[in-house]
Structures are given as C-alpha cells and as structure tokens.
C-alpha cells in the first residue's frame, strides 16, 4: 500500500532564523501515520518555533516541510495555496494551543465550538451537529449537559479537553500540540494525558507534541527529539532515550527529573 511506503510528514534541513539569530538549525525528520513524536527541550531551545514551522504557521528560512495529502502524496505545505492550507488546517490537521483560549471561540457555546468544523465542511442538520458535538464532549470526558455553556465557565482542564474535541471531530491524521498540559494541576494533567493516549491509539493519530516535561513524552510518545539551542542533539525511541541517554544534555535533563 502506498501509505506504508511514505511518511505522513517529511521534514528536510529545516532552518529558522530571526535576522542573524538562528533559532532552529538543520532539522530533518520523518513522521509516520499513527506515530507520536515528542519534541523536548527547555524554553529557548527552539522547540515552539519548530512546531510552528511544521504546522505551516511560521515559514522557515530554508528547508522543506512536506505532508502526505490525501490522494496526491507528499506536498510542500508552503507551496499550497491559501485556500488549500486553510482547508488542511480545518480538516486533516489539528492544532492544540498551550492556552485553550487561543484555540477556542470563548464567546460561543461548547457545542458550537465543537461543531464548527463540521459546519465549515457543509453539514447543515442542527440535530445531527448537536448530537455529534455531544458525543465528542463525552469522549473527552466533559459532561454533555454543558453543551450550551460557554468555555469561559469551564475550568482550565475542561477547556483543554474542549479544544481537543474541536480539533479531533474531523478525524484529522496529524495533530500538533504545544505544551498541552502545562499550567494544569498535576491530577488534571494525568487525566488529560490518559485521555490523549487513548484517543491517539483509537484514532491512529499521528502527533507532534512539544513539551518540557519528560513524563509527558514518556507517556504519549513513541519517539522523542531533544533540542538544545536550536539543534536536535538526540533522537530515538522514547524509552531508549530516557533509559539510556547518550548526549550530555539529554543526560542532564533525565537526571534532573525527580523520581516519582
């Protein structure tokens, strides 16, 4: 099958600079369908810039990012027309922001937030839209009776789950997440991570998750990329990298995590 022979996302020699300052240097990677990759590093490592470059939100200075479009194979995402890029962002991709308010319409109901992508794709049956939204609220463990409530009445953890539902309702193949659990209570984080792990497995979702928290990487990602100063200093299977780090920086990161 064609899908098995090409990656979902192919990044080659990606380089991002602000003026003379290089923030992401020469990153290459392949992401396969259903694979979750964690990009780990401290703040200032360039990981968020890398995520934005992969998600077509920040054009790189050089290098390419190619996505396997349905029916047409790997295409340079920066060569797409604006219409194609926006359609992609609404259907086959998801983007979960660190602060849920950035990824939600705070002044419309939870139901409208979740159903919006379906309406944008042309669904016009209110009852069905509402039912699908209700299903998804349940799947992300939000009480469906809150479907008419606005997100500004939700807790941080609930808003984050709402954001996830809003993104996943169109069954995207690739989701980008920027520190999805930071700022949440530890117990809330744990529940959210469990839910994400279940959903990614159920939906065979590929994901790129930026995090400074190694526990998030351990729980969700099969593969891991460690960044320092814009450079990928180590990559590999998550368990291997965490159990047997090779690069001194990775060793430092791993050793500084308090044991549970």
């Amino acid at each position: 099958m064609h899908e098995l022979t090409q990656p979902l996302l192919r990044v080659q020699n990606l380089h991002c600079a602000y003026g003379a300052r290089a923030v992401v240097r020469d990153i290459s990677l392949d992401l396969w369908p259903g694979e979750v990759l964690a990009i780990v590093g401290e703040s200032g490592s360039g990981k968020t810039t890398l995520l934005n470059a992969l998600a077509a939100r920040h054009a790189p200075t050089s290098g390419t990012v190619a996505f396997a479009m349905r029916g047409s194979g790997l295409q340079d995402i920066y060569a797409l027309s604006e219409a194609q890029a926006r359609l992609l962002a609404r259907t086959d991709w998801g983007f979960v922001h660190q602060h849920a308010a950035d990824g939600l319409r705070m002044n419309v109901s939870a139901g409208a937030n979740v159903a919006e992508r379906l309406m944008a794709l042309g669904q016009r049956h209110y009852g069905n839209l509402r039912a699908q939204a209700g299903d998804w609220l349940a799947r992300v463990e939000i009480d469906p009776s809150r479907i008419d409530d606005r997100p500004d009445t939700f807790s941080g953890g609930m808003r984050q789950r709402l954001q996830i539902a809003r993104n996943l309702i169109t069954q995207p193949r690739l989701v980008f997440m920027d520190e999805p659990t930071s700022g949440l209570d530890v117990s809330v984080q744990a529940r959210l991570l469990d839910m994400l792990r279940m959903l990614t497995r159920q939906m065979n979702l590929a994901a790129v998750i930026v995090t400074h928290d190694l526990a998030v990487a351990r729980l969700l990602a099969q593969r891991m990329l460690v960044m320092q100063g814009g450079v990928a200093v180590e990559t590999g299977l998550t368990d291997q990298v965490l159990d047997d780090p090779q690069h001194p920086y990775t060793q430092l990161l791993v050793s500084s995590v308090l044991p549970p």
Binding site: G19, A20, R130, D148
Partner: protein, 364 residues
C-alpha cells in the same frame, strides 16, 4: 378611527420654515453676515475648511451661517458642495519650508535658526472670560511690529536630517501619484498617503481623543513637538496648456512635525521616528492630534506590536469621518418600525413558549 398616515411632505416643508426661524433667532437682533463670520469666527472657518476639504473661507462662513453654528453640519454642507465641483487638476506639493511665518515654535529645542516666534495664540492667555467683549466698538491694542527678519527658518526636521537623526522616507520608485481618497474608496491595509488624507479630513474631536489615548499608555510613542509652524504658503499649479508652474495664490496652513520614539538596535544606528499633521488656517490642535495618530498608525510599518485602538488602522480610519459617523449615528432617528416589528414578533413568540413549556423549539 385610524387613518393611513399621510402628510409627510407638508410636514417636511413646514419643518424647513421652522428651521429657518430657529437659525435666524430674534429678528430684532441684527442678522449675522457671512463677512462677520469669516472675519470674527475665523477659527471655526478654519476647521470647517479643513474637514470640509475645501479652501474657501467665504463658503465655509456661509455654511456656518446656514447651520447656525453646528460645525459638523457646516462641514457636511461644504463636503456636499465639494462633490459637485469638477476636478481641474492637482497642485504641486506645497513647500512649507518657504512659509511666510506668523507663528513658529519648537518644543524640542530651546532656540533655533529663525527663532521661536510666539505669534497669535491662546496658549499663554489665562482663560478668564473677558466681559469687555460684551460691548462692541472697543479700540484694539496695536501689537508691536518687527522688521521682517532675513534669517531663514529652516524646518527642524531638515536640521535633524543633517545629522541623520531623523528617519527619512525615500520617494517610492517611479514617484507614483498619491492615492486620492475623494475619488476611490479606502481599502485596508491603507498606505500612508491614504491614511494621511483620511486624518486630514477627520473629525477633530475623535482624532483628539485617539491622540490623547496614545499619551496615556494606549501605545506609547514618546512624542516631542519638533515644530509647529503657521503662516501662508504659495499654491502652485502646472496647467496642461502651459506646461510650466504658475502661482495661483496663497493660503494659510498649520503644520506639525512630531518627533517620536527612536528605533534602532545594535546593528542598526538609531533614528527618531516621525508623525505629521497639516490643516488649513490656524488649527494647531488638529495638526498635533493628526501627527500623533499618524505616528501611532505606523506601528505595523515600524515593526511595533499593535495593542491599542489608536494603532489599529481599521478602527481609526473607519470611524474618523464626521459625515459617516454623524450620518450613521443619527440615521437611527429614521423609521425602523418594520424591523422592530419583526423583533417584537419573535420576542412575543419566545415569551409565549416560555409560558407554555414543552414547545418543540426549546433548547434540548
């Protein structure tokens, strides 16, 4: 018994008569002449010309008389008149460097070539009502005159430019014609020439509020008055038939150059940035407000974060024209009873389903 309402036309005609009476006031009091307004309400005339976009003091004075002193109404009259005038051509850009100066000050420098010329200004008066003006016919004091100085008054911006301290804008390639806001609609994002035209015609009150906001933390541009100059400039035209420049007269203008927050970095030598304001006649408040808002609207261009309303093009430029704002605000007086009827019907219907629960349309 109810009758279908008729008589809108006769009501309008009668209202014209009432309006004329209101405008005239007590017939026993001498009628105001257009010449009196032109001479003695000069600053009102200047404002009406500036926002009306027509330099003609007599017409502006007439508009003020007709509108009984409502300047926004007078501006409307002048603009509507302007719309009927054919466009004969475009003048050359005026050269304020060659202005016959009546007043010229700089807050940025204590003294400068050409000197600080106070001229006629309310700035240093005490705002005490002068009851002697209740009477007419007093003799006026004669101000001292000085022999006109031969010392030139170069613009402060030119002086700063010698040292490269002030940003300069290179002439765009091909020296294109400026956008003409009176002929084409404003689209966003608007370039600077379109923005400046919009600001020149903008309602002074709105612009003043926006400018003030930039001084109170809604964006900060650290402004200094580089120079304000008021005086007459020559207006020149190159008629097609002649092919050379002729002077068609003088007109008084007020120009304000603001010097603002410098920009630069370790790799780029810093320079001050600028804001510009221009108005007909003696209109300092307007020219200053315009210069502050001009600078705020350059945020995008200068790489500054847009955080405050005065920096948002669409917010400022869409709401600055008094004809548009006054027209739309006041249009609410027009009948809207058909639309209101539709709303009434819905609200009644919704209230009805409240009172009778189990309605299929209620929320799940």
């Amino acid at each position: 018994m109810y009758v279908a309402v008729k008589g809108g036309e006769s009501a309008i005609l009668n209202s014209y008569d009432l309006l004329a009476q209101q405008r005239r006031g007590d017939a026993a009091v001498a009628e105001l002449s257009v010449a009196q307004i032109q001479q003695q309400l000069r600053l009102a005339v200047d404002r009406v010309m500036t926002e009306g976009s027509v330099y003609d003091p007599q017409l502006a004075a007439l508009a003020i008389k007709q509108s009984a002193g409502d300047l926004v109404e007078a501006i409307f009259l002048l603009r509507a008149y302007r719309a009927t005038l054919p466009r004969l051509g475009y003048s050359q850009a005026i050269d304020t460097g060659k202005m016959q100066i009546a007043r010229r000050i700089s807050a940025a420098f204590k003294d400068l070539p050409g000197g600080q010329v106070l001229g006629p200004t309310y700035d240093y008066t005490q705002r005490l009502l002068d009851f002697s003006l209740l009477a007419t016919g007093q003799s006026l004091p004669v101000p001292k005159t000085f022999a006109p100085s031969n010392e030139p008054s170069p613009r402060v911006v030119d002086l700063l430019n010698h040292e490269n301290l002030l940003e300069t804008q290179p002439v765009p390639e091909g020296d294109p014609d400026p956008f003409d806001l009176t002929r084409a609609p404003l689209r966003f994002p608007a370039d600077r020439s379109a923005r400046l035209q919009n600001l020149a015609r903008a309602d002074e009150g709105f612009l003043l509020g926006m400018a003030y906001s930039t001084q109170r933390g809604y964006s900060e541009t650290h402004p200094f008055v580089g120079e304000i100059r008021f005086g007459t400039v020559e207006l020149c035209l190159v008629p097609e038939e002649l092919g050379f420049e002729i002077s068609i007269g003088d007109l008084p203008v007020t120009e304000c150059q603001m010097i603002n927050q410098f920009q630069g970095s370790l790799t780029q030598p810093p320079q001050f940035t600028r804001g510009y304001g221009l108005a007909f006649g003696h209109s300092e408040r307007k020219a200053m407000a315009m210069a502050l808002v001009d600078r705020a609207l350059r945020a995008d261009e200068l790489g500054e974060a847009v955080t405050a309303p005065a920096q948002m093009q669409e917010f400022v430029l869409s709401h600055s024209d008094s004809l548009e704002s006054s027209g739309f605000v006041q249009h609410l007086k027009l009948p809207h009873y058909v639309d209101f009827q539709s709303e009434l019907e819905l609200v009644r219907k919704m209230r009805h389903s409240f009172a009778t629960p189990g309605d299929a349309h209620g929320p799940a």
